[in-house]
Amino acid sequence: METFRLEILTPNGEIYNGSALSVVLPGEEGEFGVLAHHSSLTTLLTSGVVDVEKEDRCVESIVINWGVVQVDEKKVIILVEGAAPIRGENEAEIAKALEDAKMFIKDIADSSSAIASVSAKIESAAQKLI
């Protein structure tokens, strides 16, 4: 499978910069996936989870609040206002990242169903990591 360049930026710095196989994004109109050679597109993202499939086929999940994505044939740039990546070297770190992400989503989401769906997603993402 071909890879493409992915950059995820927040005002506090870069949280992802590298190649990826695919990325699933929480668009305003619903979730959508992006693979290499996707036609160019610019759209807004809402609060939710960004799933990045890396070159080694590992999936990394990042919770975001608001964002804009710019897709063109060669690269994908995602600008987000706030993000909480779920990653870590060991179980304790992952558990902490999960807690942080949950706190983060509580602050940003306005409906309880949105919180529940995002929480479920990040729980399963963390399970896979452990």
């Binding site: 930026l9 005002p11 506090n12 710095g13 160019s40 597109l41 807004l44 710019q70």
Partner: protein, 296 residues
């Protein structure tokens, strides 16, 4: 020759000043490190945000995407009223940091006045605001203590008025002027034309014409609208944090120069003191010798 006591007093006073300036330099160095880190982390985001916006604006312009009548993306011929937002520091003692921004603002105002364009001046930072008040230049509104402690929510609500007025057609352009951080030794003056979005940076090519701008059709206007809001909000916030970093670097430098000058002054005062002391001793000796001579 000055009195010995006077010189001593002067030396003491100068070396006290030197202590103060050195302390201020150290404080600025510590603050600069923090501010610079914050600014450098945000720099990339600000650059990409501007890039994305410029590209969208450029594509709207080049590919002539129809149906987008958002005012922010179109050039405005013969503006009637413009907003100038400037950012200066709240405190002085930082060399030419504030005056550079003030000069640039005054120059821009003059240019607009020559073209018969009305200017609405909005100030952030005590020094700039005081300057324009003293010179009886009308300020539309002013905020103090935001430039020393940048806060996203406060800067957002400040700039909101300009965004809304631009969209309503009350103003035709928005400029942000501030002195930004370049490196430890230099600051760089930025005059940013925020609205309408500058499309000149984006070069039209066949490739861009072909790869059409695709925005989700249903809420195209909404999307561009909220993107523009975020773009303007973030530009001001970035200007604030960049300006804080620049302020500290300017102060650090100014205080360093002041410390060095004080050092030089103490040195020359010491020489003067020694000369005066020697002169006093010589006079005393002459007096004794001439006294002894007269006794003979």
């Amino acid at each position: 020759m000055a009195n010995l006591k006077d010189i001593q007093r002067q030396i003491k006073s100068v070396s006290n000043t030197q202590k103060t300036t050195r302390a201020m330099k150290l404080v600025s160095t510590a603050k600069l490190r923090r501010a610079e880190e914050l600014a450098s982390r945000s720099r990339l985001y600000a650059q990409k945000m501007n890039q994305v916006i410029a590209e969208i604006a450029g594509r709207i312009e080049c590919a002539k995407v129809g149906g987008i009548d958002n005012r922010c993306f179109h050039k405005i011929e013969s503006p009637k009223m413009v907003d100038i937002v400037f950012v200066t520091a709240d405190k002085g003692l930082c060399g030419g940091f504030n005056i550079q921004t003030i000069k640039a603002v005054s120059k821009l105002i003059k240019e607009y006045k020559a073209q018969n364009v009305k200017v609405r001046l909005r100030g952030i930072g005590k020094k700039g605001v005081e300057f324009f008040k003293y010179n009886e230049v009308e300020l539309f509104d002013a905020v103090i203590d935001l430039s020393s402690k940048p806060e996203k929510t406060r800067s957002d609500s400040f700039i909101r008025t300009s965004i809304l007025d631009f969209k309503d057609g009350k103003i035709d352009a928005l400029h942000i002027i501030y002195n930004g951080y370049k490196n430890m030794l230099t600051q760089e003056l930025h005059i940013n034309n925020i609205l309408p979005i500058d499309t000149t940076k984006f070069e039209c090519s066949e490739e861009t014409d072909r790869s059409m701008l695709e925005i989700e059709a249903q809420n195209e206007e909404n999307m561009l609208d909220s993107l523009v809001n975020k773009y303007v909000d973030y530009n001001l916030y970035y200007a604030l944090i960049d300006s804080v970093a620049a302020e500290h670097s300017a102060r650090m430098q100014a205080m360093d120069t002041a410390t060095n000058n004080a050092k030089e002054m103490v040195k020359s005062l010491n020489v003067e003191f020694n000369k005066a002391r020697q002169a006093a001793i010589t006079t005393e000796l002459i007096e004794i010798i001439s006294g002894v001579e007269s006794m003979k």
